[in-house]
């Protein structure tokens, strides 16, 4: 049989159905749009976990990395001896090596207002997320100590990539002095970046330090703030004893020798180190955060729940709409439209709904993403993959619902109309 070859009318019937629906179409659209927004939002949460997982390594310049055999994730890296880095440097294919020191340290967070008495935390604020965001750094809080992540590195052999590299170049002379640090300018407001010009009694661990400047580094689910300093200062501030115990060994390797170098290092070094390529550690890190932590698992379940709910809602919305138009379809059938042609109209109409809902959901999600990023301080990024996944879901459910309801149309007897 097939479709009769006839010049399609413009605009097509399916489109006019949607437009004619008016308010009713709008209700259907908004229902589906919010359901899809939920999917985009949950995908965004999961994406945020991945972004924060690899962000730290993105700031570092290396081809191959040496890690402790106790390495769990960036914020729990374990220790390895500097000797391993020297051993690695002996290989011909290794161009350069540099250590990175990393540890949690206790930061003295300024109170707000600055002149408020040093409470013992009894006056802790009961403000919720929205209130905290509105108040920002002006949230009333007592003097408190909170942990942040401290990174120490060799000033003359900086492991960072641009833009951190340039910032460190700028501050290098000051960072050489004892107890000078750079504070993350994207820190949680409690850490006092905004108060840096008026507050000077910073302490890291048991030592008074001076904040000489700032650098931008995304904060994640594990640390609310970061401080960077020279290796010499790090060893002192974090009580490492000496520079001989490191947390990361970063290697620059000849471009075409990465695989061979990793194989050599693995056979050469004792089992107290792990050796990863750049791609390898990025993969391990995002696997850890997404699949091995409860946070990642909960977000994954969130995506699953949202997808199921969205599929049900979209199906509901579309089948409602078709049912409302049943008499019209029966009329069309009486007029001689074939079932195939009607199916085409119904499926086309479903798809138009889905594409419009998807477009609306992208707009709504863009707003909710911004709200989340502002309130929670996690990076919310709408990636092409997630957009494609959501669109695919919308189209598949749309088409399936269209076909399913069209199947029911086969039994729409024109006589039923009356």
């Amino acid at each position: 049989m097939g479709f009769p070859i006839r010049r399609p009318r413009f605009p097509p019937l399916a489109w006019r159905n949607v437009i004619h629906g008016g308010r009713r179409s709008l209700a259907a659209l908004s229902g589906a749009a919010f359901a899809l927004t939920m999917v985009l939002l949950q995908l965004g949460f999961l994406e945020a976990v991945e972004i924060t997982a690899v962000n730290n390594f993105d700031q570092l310049d290396f081809d191959v990395i040496l890690l402790s055999s106790r390495y769990e994730q960036f914020y729990a890296p374990g220790f390895l001896p500097m000797e391993r880095l020297r051993q690695a440097a002996g290989l011909d294919s290794v161009l350069a090596t540099t250590p990175l020191y990393a540890s949690f340290g206790l930061w003295r967070c300024p109170p707000y207002p600055l002149d408020s008495a040093a409470g013992d935390g009894e006056t802790e604020s009961q403000t919720g997320a929205l209130g905290r965001w509105l108040a920002g750094s002006r949230l009333r809080r007592p003097l408190q100590r909170r942990e942040l992540f401290v990174l120490g590195f060799d000033l003359d052999n900086s492991p960072f990539r641009s833009p951190l590299r340039e910032i460190i170049d700028e501050y290098r002379p000051q960072l050489r002095l004892t107890d000078r640090v750079l504070l993350n300018s994207l820190s949680h407001p409690d850490f006092g970046w905004d108060l840096r010009h008026r507050f000077h009694d910073w302490e890291l661990g048991k030592t008074a330090v001076e904040v000489v400047g700032g650098f931008p580094m995304m904060r994640g689910f594990a640390a609310d703030s970061t401080v960077i300093c020279s290796d010499e200062n790090f060893v002192k501030l974090c009580e490492y004893g000496s520079r001989e115990t490191i947390n990361f060994g970063l290697l620059k390797v000849l471009p075409d020798a990465v695989g061979a170098t990793i194989a050599r290092l693995k056979s050469m070094l004792p089992p107290d180190v792990l050796v990863y390529s750049r791609a390898g550690i990025l993969k391990r890190e995002s696997d850890h955060w997404v699949n091995q932590t409860s946070t990642g698992k909960l977000f994954a379940f969130g995506v699953l729940v949202a997808v199921v709910v969205a599929a049900v809602v979209v199906h509901q919305v579309l089948s409602n709409d078709v049912r409302e138009h049943l008499p019209e379809y029966a009329t069309l059938k009486a007029m001689g439209y074939s079932t195939a042609r009607l199916t085409g109209v119904v499926v086309a109409q479903s798809l138009i709904y889905m594409v419009l809902s998807f477009a609306a959901s992208v707009v709504i999600a863009a707003v909710v993403y911004r709200i989340t990023a502002a309130l929670a301080g996690v990076p919310m990024r709408m990636t092409a993959e997630n957009l494609a996944r959501t669109l695919l879901l919308a189209v598949v459910v749309g088409a399936a619902t269209g076909l399913l309801t069209a199947y029911k149309l086969r039994y729409a007897e024109p006589a039923d109309l009356f």
């Binding site: 359901a35 403000t127 994640g220 729940v305 199921v308 709910v309 509901q316």
Partner: protein
Amino acid sequence: MAFGNKVPLAWRNLTESKPRLFASVAGAAFAVTLMFMENGFRNALLDSMVNVIERLDGEMVLVSPTLYTLAAPYSFPLQRLVQAGDFPEIESTSPVYVVTRTGFWRRPDTGEQVRACVIGYPPEDDALDIPELKENRDLWSRPDTAMADLESREDQFGAFEPGMTSEISGRRIEIAGTFSLGINVQTNGNIVMSDRNMMKVFPELDGPSLMDRKVTVGVLQVRPGADLDRLRAGLRAALPPDVRVLTKDQFITQEREFWDKVAPVGTVFLIGVVMGFIVGAMICHQVLHADISDRLSEFATLKAMGYSNAKLLRVVLMQAFYLALLGYGAGLLVSVFLFDWVHRATSLPMDLSRNNPLAILALTMVMCLGSGALAARSLVSVDPAQLFA
């Protein structure tokens, strides 16, 4: 009043067509499930963070003033706990040592080292209210033994079996037995050992003298009948400022508040809850709106028969009420299974009863009645004459 006979009309509207009823209830049930799940995720996160604190067997605790979450355990000297024990209102005290960053379990089958939360206290103190730990006190009092949490993530820790030996942070340890505690967002496995074993594995907790040992939480058991507020004030006045005195409830609140309000995870899940409610409300509106527009001609007939707008509205609201009840029931049933599934998949505490089922019922009502009222707007403008247009 003829209220009684409106009930059947609304009910019959809802149940007239079985497939339709099924679709409507399914819609509302999914909205309810969505709210339960988002709420459940958030509570699972917060409940899991206080899993250890909730099991501390005492009414009051001493902690370091620095300690803002147990995930970053700061300590105070044992001396303070001994001083607190001199108070007549205090029946007994127990030091609890917690290590979250430097405790590594060496998996015997793969040799991999996995970070665990290690908790230590004198076994005879029963500081943690966990039956398996109390019953097997003699087993794990022996040197170089430990108890392992069965709810630790098996894919990382492997299976724990009594009698197996491996290493904790480089020291040979025999697993004396197992218990059930549960993991959280910060730790994927728990180990409990005696204070003596703890000092051997983590000598950094030991001090120059016994009184300098670095205690993370000092658990105070208060004599029945003592006034907690007065005791707390007395302890605060008597002890130096290097410890904080909290009731157990305050300690739980402090920990939950940190993860709920300061750490980003809590906020993210809160946004999930809010979005879940919005989507749920949209679904209910959709269901009721579709139903009303389908029956517009019947409603117009009723109006022609002399039903006032208020009466029609009442019919719609009753229908929304029934939908809310049915949807809630079905959603609750689905959620029971889903909660169990997520609990088994994540080992996180997914406890339906802690998710304010009544609050969610109230929200469902608000959602359905609100969207019913909104959908009923079209009834006000319905003109009986339209029937024959």
